[in-house]
Symmetry: C2
Subunit: 312 residues, 2 copies
C-alpha cells in the first residue's frame, strides 16, 4: 500500500493501530537502533516493550562487516534483546544464498572480495572460499602484469561485500573470474555512502566496492543478498514465520529499507534518525519518477524513541 | 555527419578521398597503433606516410599512466614519428584543465587519486598536489576509524585517474573532500575495461577507480579530461591549429574515441584492431538508442595497417 500521503506514526492512536495489526517488526540497525556506537534514545526500551507484547522482532541489516554472533554482542551491549536466530546480516544471507539457492556451488569455490565476518559465515556453512585479507600484489594496467595475477580454477562465484583491503589487483581477479558467464556474481549490498551529520568525513558504503567490480566485470550482480533485494525476506522466512500483511519493516534509508519493504509487500516505517531527512522524504513523495515512488514509506516518524514517549 | 551507413575505408578510392579532405589525424594509441607492447602491423609505416604527405598527426589517449615524455619514448621505440607537442594523454590534459580552466586552483591543492605520471604532469605545471602512492592506513566503516583519516585543508580539487594503490582509505578521503560542493571533481577518463582477446584475464579500466569515488562522493565528475569529453579537443587546439571539418579521429572504442569525434564534429574512423568487433559495431548501427547512435563512426576498417596494403 504505497500512497502519496505518509502517515505520521508518533501519536498514540497510530501507534495503537500499528500494534493491533502488526505481529512482526523487522528493524534495520545503524541509523534506526543506534548511531555509530550509541543507542538511539529510547530505542532499547521500545524494542523490549514490543517483545513484552508478544511481537516478533528481527534485526535486518545490510552491513556485511559483522557476523551474526558479533551482532548479538553489539545488540546486547546496547540493551536490545537478541539471539543469533533473530539477526539477518548480509555476511550471513549472502553465504546462505550461495549454499541454498546457487547449489551448483557445492562443487566449486568462491572468490571473496570481502572481510573476516563474511569469511566466518562462509566457513559456518562449509563453503570453500579464498581471497579474504590483503592482496599485496601491486599491478598496473600493463597487459603482462595483469596476466601475472594468478587465477585459481573451479571458481563458481565471486562474492563482493565490504572489503577494507579492496585493491586494483582484486578488481583484476574478480573481473577475470566473472569473464566466465557461468561464474555467479553475488553482492551483499549496494549502499552508496553514509554522511556523518555536519562533519567533513564521509563513510563510503559497500556500493563503492561493488561499483568498481561491476565496471571491471562489465556485468551487474546476479543477486543482491541484502535490501532492497527480496531474497532477504526468503532468508528470514527460513527461520521466522512471517505473514507479510502483519509485518513491518522499520528503516532509515528509502532506497534500501523502504524499497525492500514495499517490494516485499510489507508495511513500512521510515525513521529520520539516520540517512534521510524531511527534505529527502518530501522529494520522494513529490517525485513523479516511479523508482522514487516505490521508496515512499507508509509511515514516518523522527525516531523509534518517539514511541517510548507515547506509552511511557 | 553521423549516418546509419558506415563507409568501409580499406579501398583505394575511399583512402584517396580521405587524404584529399583531411589534413589532421588524431590517433588513439592502444588498440589502434599497438596492442600491448607490439605495434599493429603496418601502422608505423602508415603514420610515416601520412606525415610525408604533409598531414598533421597527434596522439590522443585516455591512458593516464604515462607522461607525455614516456609516450614519446614508446611511440619512437615502436617506430612512430613523435615529439612531446604531438602527445595528448590524460595525465597531461587533466593537469592542463586544473591550471588553465579551473583557475581557482592557483590558490589550493589537489588531492590526487592517481599515479606517478599524473604527479609528474601536475609538477610540470607547478600545481600543488598530494595523495600519490600507497596510503597504508587500513580503515573499516566504523565511524570513529573513518574520522581518524586525516584531512588536509585548502583542497580545491580531487583528481582521479588510474591508481594501482586505490584503497578504501583513499575513497574515504576523496569522498570527504568532495563533501564540500566547491571542491572540483576531475577524472581523467571512464574507460570500463579491456578484455584480452580470448584470455581469462581482464584489464580493469580507470573507470573502476572513478566509479568507486563517484559512488562514495554521491557526485559525478565535473569534468572528464579525456575522451569522450570535448575538453580534449580544446587542449589539442592550444598547440595545433585544427579545422574540425578537415580533422579525423581514429580510434578502436566507440564510447570514447568515436563519441568524442562525433561530439566534436570531427570525421571519425573506427578500427577493429582493439576493443570493438563487427558485432558491437552492428549493434550500434542498428540501435534506436540515441546514445548508441552518437557512437556510430563515419568510416570503419580492420586496422590502420589496411592502408599500407593499399598504397604499397
Amino acid at each position: 500500500p504505497i500512497g502519496m500521503t505518509v502517515k505520521l506514526a508518533n501519536c498514540e492512536s497510530v501507534f495503537r493501530n500499528i500494534l493491533s495489526k502488526i505481529d512482526t517488526f523487522l528493524f534495520d540497525c545503524d541509523g534506526v537502533l543506534w548511531q555509530g556506537n550509541i543507542a538511539v534514545k529510547g530505542a532499547p526500551a521500545v524494542v523490549a516493550h514490543l517483545k513484552s507484547l508478544g511481537k516478533q522482532v528481527c534485526y535486518v541489516t545490510n552491513n556485511s562487516t559483522k557476523s551474526r554472533h558479533r551482532y548479538v554482542e553489539k545488540l546486547t551491549r546496547l540493551g536490545f534483546p537478541a539471539d543469533v536466530n533473530s539477526v539477518f546480516s548480509t555476511a550471513y544471507t549472502s553465504a546462505l544464498y550461495l549454499k541454498n539457492i546457487a547449489k551448483v556451488l557445492v562443487q566449486g569455490k568462491v572468490y571473496l572480495v570481502g572481510n573476516p565476518a563474511m569469511a566466518e559465515e562462509l566457513d559456518s556453512l562449509k563453503i570453500q572460499h579464498f581471497g579474504s585479507g590483503p592482496d599485496n600484489q601491486v599491478t598496473t594496467q600493463d597487459h603482462d602484469e595483469v596476466r601475472s595475477c594468478a587465477l585459481e580454477n573451479d571458481v563458481s562465484a565471486v562474492l563482493v561485500g565490504y572489503d577494507g583491503h579492496i585493491s586494483y589487483t582484486k578488481m583484476i581477479k574478480a573481473a577475470s573470474y566473472l569473464n566466465d558467464p557461468k561464474c555467479l556474481y553475488v553482492a551483499t549490498n549496494e549502499d552508496h555512502r553514509m554522511p556523518l551529520n555536519g562533519e567533513r568525513h564521509v563513510v563510503p558504503g559497500t556500493g563503492c566496492v561493488v561499483a568498481s567490480v561491476t565496471v571491471a566485470a562489465g556485468r551487474n550482480p546476479d543477486v543482491i543478498a541484502g535490501k532492497p533485494g527480496t531474497f532477504m525476506l526468503k532468508c528470514i522466512q527460513q527461520t521466522v514465520e512471517i505473514d507479510p500483511t502483519k509485518c513491518m519493516m522499520v528503516g532509515d534509508r528509502m532506497n534500501t529499507d523502504i524499497l525492500f519493504g514495499n517490494q516485499s509487500e510489507l508495511h513500512t516505517l521510515l525513521v529520520l534518525s539516520g540517512v534521510e531527512d524531511q527534505e529527502s522524504l518530501n522529494k520522494a513523495v513529490e517525485s513523479s519518477d516511479p523508482n522514487m515512488k516505490r521508496q515512499v514509506p507508509e509511515y514516518c516518524m523522527g525516531s523509534i524513541g518517539d514511541w517510548y514517549a507515547i506509552y511511557e
